[in-house]
Amino acid sequence: MSEVLKVSDLRVGFGRRGLFGKAVEVLHGVSFGIAAGETFGLVGESGSGKTTIGRAVLGLVAPSAGTIVLNGVPIDDLRRRRRLAREVQVVFQDPYTSLNPAMTIEDILSEPLRVHGMERGAAARRVADLLDRVALPADAGRRYPREFSGGQRQRIAIARALSLEPRVIVCDEPVSALDLSTQARILDLLIEIQDTLGIAYLFISHDLAVVRHISHRVAVINKGAFVETGTAAQVTEDPAHPYTRRLLLAAPVPDPARQRERRAERHRLADAAPA
């Protein structure tokens, strides 16, 4: 299986200040690969380092060690961002701040195309295709982000990510800010796009149920290191690591009777484990 994205022993440190300041390492060497058409889910709590992995792949933070290879080409040089842009794109969590409020949807979607040399007419046609692709009305292009609901904005963000036909899309909590019924629709849209275009997703979320629904393989991350990696079924139904088990049991399920059992089991687990 050919991997479009390969991350090996990635380390990231933050916050070195002054001459004698020490960097705090937030990622302690993580490795994984993603094949074309595959979703690699990354689950963890806040501060686990999951977002930092995504930002390193996007070239938004510089790794302190390790390699990131995109399609066979190492991307250790951040100055090659413009070429990187064609290969890897992003959908962020918050659809309210990830779209520039001062630009129309048409401008937001056509800007990456124009920057990469597409002429105006072709860009306009591509924008129309993209809006259709994410099931937004054709006249959406003339409007501003504030005129759309959270779910619709996330569709716009997905269209923007698709515009340069990337091989990899980093999805950083793309549905956490959405209503439950909207969440399912956006996830299904992402899956459908993946099935047609064969894009690889690095899917980052705190929500195991969401990750399980869209990911082929899942890694659980805690304090900057993977604690467990496996297929979605393995990790979410038969977790090997106690941390994964804790995470799994902590998420409440919408069934009062089952939730009562899980709660009791969680308490048993907590009592058994040293604090």
Binding site: T97, L99, P101, L164, V210, L247, P256
Partner: protein, 565 residues
């Protein structure tokens, strides 16, 4: 939500406000009068009518004449173009230097920022008039050079403002998205940052114009304005000051025009700011009731909401909502965003956002009619009999005070106990909500503790005065799942221990299943269905409830491993 500038509606809001209309009107009048003075002014500003020196306003001389019998109005009009052009030049120089440098400092950060910020600080600490006097001493009374120098000095405030606002926007997700799209830094700065910081820069510009006008008048007053006998506002005031004992009126027309113009620029700045703040949620909350109340209330219920209707100007956001809470019972209020669940909770607390009013129905709490209660009595109820836990724990703690003082204050005020006793109780409560080192947390400031810890503090504070009803608005949504589970455990324990009634506002059916006794499902401001938690989950009767439960991803088949590509 953020408070970005909104291009079209923004201008309309500025012009639409009384302040905006008046100040823009006056500025337009001054501009037209000044620049068209050669055609509009009734007299030649240099023409002397010695016989009518010190004349009061008359049909010939509308604003009177000065010591040489020159028409004051004409001199103000002719002097205006010099003053306004000078102020405009200073502003242009200030913006041209300050905005790019400030944006550079804010965008790049690091050494560039440190150097530019120190330079701006040095410039801002210089006494303006002294510098300008030095400039005049070197270059003579060349007005253009003086005003250019003033612009350089004023640019420091633009550097600081552009730096601060750019720094705020630099980490916006849409800027990250633009970087990921492969855009260059210059393009990101011009296309993605600049349009979103224009509003504060515009406001700063109006303030810079007014201070330039004042400084200019000051220079003119010192006799360093344009060469006499050319008219200018400053020299007009200097002239008037010289003869103030002989004719007090001289001061009035020129002074009034100067003051009004400066005021107009300042209040235009205020109007611009108000229009910007328009989109921001207001923290001020008021209770407005036009419902007569007088509805059903069951003596066995702790809280009764009957036929509640809430309206904001032009839209009805809650209608016909009827629900109740019994003592020691957890009612979950569930719905998607915009369903009105939070507004319902705020109506009970009497904390609707400005403009919101209860127009029908009634709310009875523990036998008393909340809508008939005077504001003071309701405020006394909040925090004592009725408590509230917010979604964002951090924004509900004051960063300026320690956790301890924020815990003690409601105890002292509401229970009228001494500070030592309040401190003892606060520490006991912190320990009760599962905080390991209550003493340390007690002394900490909010930024020193985690989000989960902050929510525990708020829960401790909410239950400190032993309320019988607790209203929790998405109390665990901002927390990690493992922390959420612990906080829900805590809420459940406290609720059983104290037999509190709880209204839990949430969108998460998992949370509902975990803690609620009964569920009320809301949609578009109306109650869709209501019942015991077991029934609703086992056999929802309304299709909307069914749809919500079905969209849960819980229990679905995980995606299969990708076999081959």
């Amino acid at each position: 939500m953020n408070t970005e500038s909104r291009p079209r509606g923004y201008l309309r809001r500025v012009i639409g406000s009384l302040r905006g209309t008046l100040s823009l009107g006056w500025i337009a009048l001054v501009v037209i009068g000044s620049f068209l003075a050669p055609w509009l002014a009734p007299h030649d500003p240099l023409e002397q009518d010695i016989d009518h020196a010190y004349a009061m306003p008359s049909g010939t001389y509308w604003a009177g004449t000065d010591s040489l019998g020159r028409d004051i109005l004409s001199r103000i009009m002719h002097g205006g173009s010099v003053s306004l052009l000078g102020a405009g030049e200073a502003l242009l120089v200030a913006v041209a230097i300050g905005v790019p440098l400030g944006m550079l400092a804010g965008y790049r950060g690091g050494v560039v920022d440190a150097v530019l910020s120190r330079i701006a600080e040095v410039v801002m600490s210089l006494p303006v008039i002294v510098i300008l006097l030095a400039v005049v001493a070197v270059y003579g009374r060349a007005f253009t050079i003086t005003m250019g120098a003033l612009g350089v000095i004023l640019s420091a405030s633009f550097i600081r403002l552009a730096r601060a606002t750019t720094e705020g926007k630099r980490n916006e997700l849409y800027v990250d998205a633009a970087r990921v799209s492969g855009l260059g830094h210059l393009r990101i700065a011009v296309r993605h940052v600049l349009p979103n910081i224009t509003a504060p820069l515009l406001i700063q510009s109006t303030l810079a114009l007014s201070s330039a006008l004042l400084i200019q008048a000051g220079l003119g007053f010192l006799g360093l304005g344009p060469e006499p006998p050319a008219p200018s506002w400053g020299s007009g005031i200097a002239d008037a000051a010289k003869y103030v004992n002989r004719d007090g009126w001289l001061m009035v027309p020129t002074g009034a025009v100067l003051i009004l113009t400066v005021l107009a620029f300042n209040s235009l700045g205020d109007a611009l700011r108000d229009a910007t703040a328009h989109a921001a949620p207001s923290v001020e909350r008021r209770r407005r009731v036009t419902s007569s109340g007088g509805t059903r209330s069951d003596p066995g219920h702790l809280l009764d909401v009957d036929g509640l209707r809430v309206e904001y100007p032009g839209r009805r956001i809650i209608d016909e909502v009827t629900l109740h809470v019994e003592a020691g019972e957890v009612l979950a209020l569930v719905g998607e965003s915009g369903s009105g669940k939070t507004q319902t909770a705020f109506s009970i607390l009497g904390l609707l956002a400005p403009g919101g009013r209860i127009t029908a129905g009634g709310i009875h709490f523990d036998g008393s009619d909340l809508l008939a209660l005077p504001d003071k009595k309701l405020a006394a109820l909040r925090g004592t009999r009725m408590a509230y836990i917010p979604q964002e724990p951090m924004s509900n703690l004051d960063p300026c005070f320690t956790i301890g003082s924020q815990m003690i204050e409601p105890l002292v005020v509401n229970l009228r106990i001494g500070r030592a006793e309040a401190r003892r109780r606060a520490l006991a409560l912190l320990a009760r909500v599962g905080i390991n080192e209550p003493e340390r947390v007690f002394r900490s400031y909010p930024h020193e503790i985690s989000g989960g810890m902050a929510q525990r503090v708020l829960i401790a504070r909410a239950v400190s005065c032993e309320p019988s009803l607790l209203i929790a608005d998405e109390p665990t949504t901002a927390l990690d799942v493992t922390v959420q589970a612990e906080v829900l455990d805590l809420l459940r324990d406290l609720q059983r221990e104290r037999r509190m009634g709880i209204i839990l506002v949430t969108h998460d059916f998992g949370v509902v299943a975990d803690i609620a006794d009964r569920v009320a499902v809301m949609r578009n401001g109306r109650l869709v269905e209501e019942g015991p938690v077991g029934e609703i989950f086992a056999s929802p009767s309304h299709p909307y409830t069914k749809m919500l439960l079905d969209s849960s991803l819980e229990g679905r088949e995980p995606r299969k491993e990708l076999r081959h590509v």
